[in-house]
Symmetry: D2
Subunit: 460 residues, 4 copies
């Protein structure tokens, strides 16, 4: 890296999962618009073709007039090669294929267990975690070997399990995990401001929030816009829309879009616990005891959110592959626009160019006072030159803390089970998930079946 | 108090709930047999007649030849008078009457919620707690005023809530809580020793255990008899009796005795978590999610334990009253025999006469490393002259810790709710109990009904 | 308060010590230049005349063209009246008079103990602390009664003892303590940047630092300017100037200005511990064992800093009084210029107008991981709408932590001694100070003498 | 091991430093008198001849009538061989020779630094620590390899550094450290009981104490004999003997015996801090700032204890060697008598034969609440079958805690410095010792000289 004037040149970013047709494109777009940064992005992916396509798409940007910064994209087949000398490492992978994901999400349905996402907690999230840990062990070791001082940005789920694995294998890793669920809740608060106070055009970054919890089960106990306290406004908002719900999804309504919801779960949780749950309803629902929000498809419909099926994901992938082909062939032009993610801002802040406060996943050093040290938590942090400094987020209310603790225990057990190849411990975590309301025998049967469906990825 | 030779004289014990026909009689019996101690027991009870009867029963012992130590029993109508100058205070009360208990235990059944005891956790335990806190506030204040240096021994349930209330109101109180559930588990281990190893005549005190958890949800991660590790033996024992169960109750089998069980819940928990659950099945079952062991009377029957009905308790009380009358009239002679409780041994140890290691409930000072400080936990402690010194018990396995944490949160919220008259907070704890698997609306309805049934005791 | 557009009106600030001729004037100046804020400052001072003078000086500003915001200044004789309804409370007082300060600083000299400031630690700082606590008890109670939700900004020394007293008496107080010593160290780093790298015109706010320690014994383990790591640069700077020293004082050199120094103590501490000590040498020296930097006046001269005598302070006060008279009479015009303090920026941030990261003194919630919770520490914090959120500062190196711990213990003991009127405990803290290298008898004699000299302020 | 009836046979003990003429003989004597234990002691020593002599002395016991248990003693040349299959490992070595010890103790005298023992803290203790760590690294690794489940009993000084090294290298080691200094303080309390209360024939084990601190700087905040509180009695005792002192040494008075003292330092510390310092004055003095008790030989004489010179130790060794020769030759008969040490009782307790409460050195798990976790502390523990369970000892008073913290920091830095070969860190610890009241330059010079004198043992 070279620091000159207000620019930093020769930055080396390594992208693990560089064939991605989501996060990778967002990064390309954001980098293209950022004039203070310049360098190379190495793309590593087990799907080599996908990476090659992204290399083409990325390098094609350099010829365009609307691009402020011409980055070089370069495929690397070898992980060590890809990482050597990296300043930043981005990890955004799909652990396994849609076949394993189908087992994660749908096999439990045979036992009456429904999951809206199945990638974080619940039987699906835990088994996915088991499968992911060995991959992250490999990444952590390779980072320690090739670029121990690099900053590592993780986008992969299950976030907490991925992060815990990285820090367990290489305790001095400089890794943090990013997720945009809190951003969407900030956006929801701008809606409340407009709806109840008539204040328009507020950007989500202007909504200041205190974030505490774990990924996809994150909470806000403080929210404000300038001098305005948003907590009482949100209360009114909940009262107004509790029964009918309030939809914020982009592309449609909750009935035909897996990612849309009516925020009814969020509103119910506010009434139960008094804090703003800051993740999509699909995610939140899975953390609670099974019979509340996901007992069966009817319950889910009652709460007005969708079960994200794997068949939907398959169709969605088809569209993305099609788009990728079109971009590579030049049939379609890559659209440069802000992704809404904080990745590039974080990089700028870590390079000392500007301060940034945003929410990230990190080992708890005390930022949440009533969660054990070392557990992966999500709170705000200040990004500065070569530092990610957590902000003291305070303590979770008892009721939420006990639910968080249960999931943290399970996630830690999954990581340990994967690291020590302890199938028994993995089962204990599995049976302890709130969605697993089965007898010991049935739980065992389901566990064994799900393990079998993903065993090629396990070393259990 | 006067210390002479190896005896301590002029000891002053105050018994709150001194009309009790259970614990009070045990104490009388144990004191009568203990030649190193001598003094006065003041009996205080809101049921004055009951206390007067116990005064008679107690003082009658002084005339008997088989009594080693002639204690004076004395009724006191006024709490302050009763406590003035006390060296030891014993608290063992029924918070409210059987009417309130009937609501605690049976009202939730209308909502499909079954409880086997309903005095510790679950909707019944929490509402009972709400009712008990104001009484314990009074006790704590009176102790602070009249005998701040006295040792306070609590037997009342809900133990954790009672203890938390005492320590919150008077932080320097020297109180501990006693419960014999762990003793019964030690006894079960002597059965295993006999059954599998042929070793007979082992006393429960000879079974050395490491105790950790909260009252009625206590666990052993270490158990030994002399040089023999009992953990693998217990595993074999569980394997042998997992399906049929193993009964240890005194008076009959689990089908006709509320207090007997076949230990099947205990065995199931061992298989799930790897530690020995050290409380009766009736208690343990209530701490777990509702559908496991107490979903309905059939489930309970399947697991071979009993739901302790309040009508059973009413019948039992009749018998005790009858016995009391007979003892007072001299129709029956009071039977002096070891109670099996540790109360008198604890008093001796606190007077410096001998060391004692036993399990007690105390605020966590770190004896359980992964439970927050200040929460009431049950572990072993060393009793010495004017000291109760907790032993470091180590850490709970994650899965158990998360369940324990949930109940601790609820218990603390109940105490705070009662202290600050915060009905909203009380409801949050109530709705967060694992047995309360209702919608927010139904939970609210049940809560309001149960509150109404006990409201004369509340200041909510 | 009213929030309109980007302005906040009707702000109520109460200034305890409002007759001050230092901090009060800084505040007036900064408020006059800040167009987003408007309101009233109530001036309370036991020196009523001084407050009246400041009222005149403050209100005179309203007529000036160069003033952006016309604040009203109003003297209040009664503390309760002054505090009623306050949004912000500033406390900046002299505890006692120069007579007591003379005893604090100079009486120990008869026992061979020299102090360069004598207001923080050392025999003088501790006795000053004893005298200050009763005053702060009064403030804390009055704030709890009259404006429990106000933000309280403390400038008085001994900072840690003042803060500890406030939080002990009123645990929910929203107080923080401010000190500019770290700012000066940031300035020193801009000198190093210029001297060694030729980079000019860097503002002290552009120097990003991680702050950890206690007031006047604060340390930096991370310092950067944009992408440049300043730690290796500082090392070179220390090597270059270790022997001769490097002077940064404004008004002259260390020989004729009590507040100037050659930073030689700072450089020596860097070599000993590897971190940048971020306070003036005069302050730092007093925290270390007596024979290192302040054994006698010759040692002090060797290290090139000055002992701040009370006679110097008396002369300085004369000048300030003269200036005050001139300002009141209109002989002289009040100069409006940035004070360099963060007070007004902090108020803006607390009103939600902008984010601010700066260093403040707060009870440790874990921001320093190896200092006990609840002790007053100095670290960075993020100021936001109604929030002061500490940043995780990490851990102090062992050698520094043990020195910090010693002083924290003494400071806490002084607070407790003052609160419980425990002269014995006060002496223990006194005798435990590193500068008190006397036998128990001599220490007692000195202590008694110093107590006598200030006893009118004590309730010991 | 075989457990039969109340006896345990085939116990395997490995003695590292098995040629010792102190602790090894004590062990032989205690084992010979203990009828419940039987087995083999392997003797390993770098001084092979010494081990062979002890083998002879030990095996000779088997033929004697007064021996209750015939143990086999066996020399092993190879450390791995010696440790293979061990149930217990005893470590009691002299790290280096008297030449290095002479440098530890006497080189600092050239810089005006006097040490009464020089084996724990102070320049001597720290340099000795540096030399010892590599040896303990070897032991820890060999134990992990050959007998990871063995209980390891350490007697070597510097205790805290040895223990920290063992636990750092092999975190699951089951090691504890033993020291008899607390026992002597219990004995002193029996003297006070006799002197002031006329109570005679009290055994030191009957004095119940709460122990907290670090080795050789251990404190009692609670002491009792049966129902008698000893704290006020000790206060009277201190008042009576403060000026003249009170001697408890065995062989003579403090003027001609290095190990005797008049307890004046102990009494002075009681007056300063209110707790009973529970180690010999020679040890205690070295922990305090240099000018208090060991400023120069006159100060030491004033406080009536002795500087233990190395020449004294050389003469003492001569006597022991002579005695060894006589025992081997049969000129003298080995005297079987209780050693007063707890080693064999601890072994019995760890085998499940009886409970034992005694003081030991262990990593802090929270037994001292205001000392960081993982640091080596000395408190009471309960010994049971395969368990050493620390008792909660509470918190150290602030003034003592800060001194303890300083030494812990230095000790930890020494261990880390030795492990990471970081000479710079070793110097920081050295310069931070309270006895090192030198300028940075002088401290460096002394450090370099002392390092040079022991460098053959270092890998720095």
């Amino acid at each position: 890296m070279k620091f000159m004037g207000d620019k930093v040149k020769d930055i080396k970013i390594t992208y693990i999962g560089g064939g991605s047709r989501g996060w990778a494109w967002s990064l390309m777009s954001d980098l293209a618009m950022e004039k203070q940064l310049l360098g190379t992005v190495k793309l590593y992916d087990i799907d080599y073709e996908a990476a090659v396509n992204n290399e083409k798409i990325g390098n094609a940007l350099a010829g365009r007039d609307d691009v402020k910064s011409k980055w070089i994209y370069k495929v690397e087949k070898d992980l060590d090669e890809a990482l050597k000398g990296a300043d930043f490492v981005v990890i955004s992978i799909l652990p396994g294929t849609f076949n394993e994901m189908a087992s994660d999400v749908h096999t439990p349905e045979h036992y009456g267990i429904y999951q809206s996402v199945g990638d974080t907690v619940g039987p699906g999230g835990l088994i996915r975690g088991l499968r992911t840990v060995p991959m992250y062990v490999k990444f952590a070791k390779a980072i320690e070997k090739n670029c121990p001082k690099a900053w590592v940005i993780n986008y992969t789920n299950p976030m907490s399990i991925c992060m815990k694995a990285l820090y367990t294998v290489f305790p001095k890793i400089k890794a943090f995990g990013c997720c945009h669920e809190v951003f969407h809740t900030q956006t929801l608060l701008t809606h409340a401001l407009k709806d109840l106070e008539g204040i328009e055009d507020v950007k989500r970054e202007e909504i200041k929030v205190n974030v505490l919890g774990i990924n996809h089960f994150t909470w806000l106990d403080h929210a404000s816009y300038k001098n305005i306290d948003l907590m009482p406004i949100y209360k009114k908002f909940v009262d107004k829309y509790y029964v009918e719900g309030y939809e914020t999804g982009k592309t449609g309504n909750w009935m035909n879009d897996s990612f849309t919801c009516a925020n009814r779960v969020k509103f119910d949780l506010f009434r139960r616990y008094g804090l703003i749950a800051a993740a999509g309803d699909r995610h939140l629902a899975e953390f609670m005891q099974g019979n509340w929000y996901v007992e069966n498809p009817e319950t889910v419909m009652h709460w007005k959110f969708g079960l994200t099926t794997v068949s939907w994901r398959r169709r969605d992938l088809e569209k993305r592959l099609e788009k990728s082909r079109a971009l590579v062939n030049g049939e379609k032009e890559f659209e440069i626009k802000p992704s809404g993610e904080d990745g590039v801002k974080q990089i700028k802040a870590l390079l000392g160019l500007e301060d940034l406060v945003t929410n990230v996943n990190l080992p708890n050093q005390g930022q949440i006072s009533n969660i054990g040290l070392g557990n992966i938590v999500e709170t705000n942090a200040l990004f500065r030159k070569d530092q990610v400094i957590p902000l003291m987020a305070g303590e979770l209310p008892g009721a939420i803390q006990s639910i968080v603790t249960r999931h943290i225990c399970n996630q830690n057990d999954i990581v340990e089970a994967a690291l020590t190849k302890d199938r028994r411990k993995a089962f204990r975590a599995f049976a302890n998930d709130p969605l697993v309301t089965l007898s010991l025998e049935d739980a065992k049967e389901l566990f064994n079946q799900m393990i079998k469906n993903t065993e090629v990825y396990l070393e259990l």
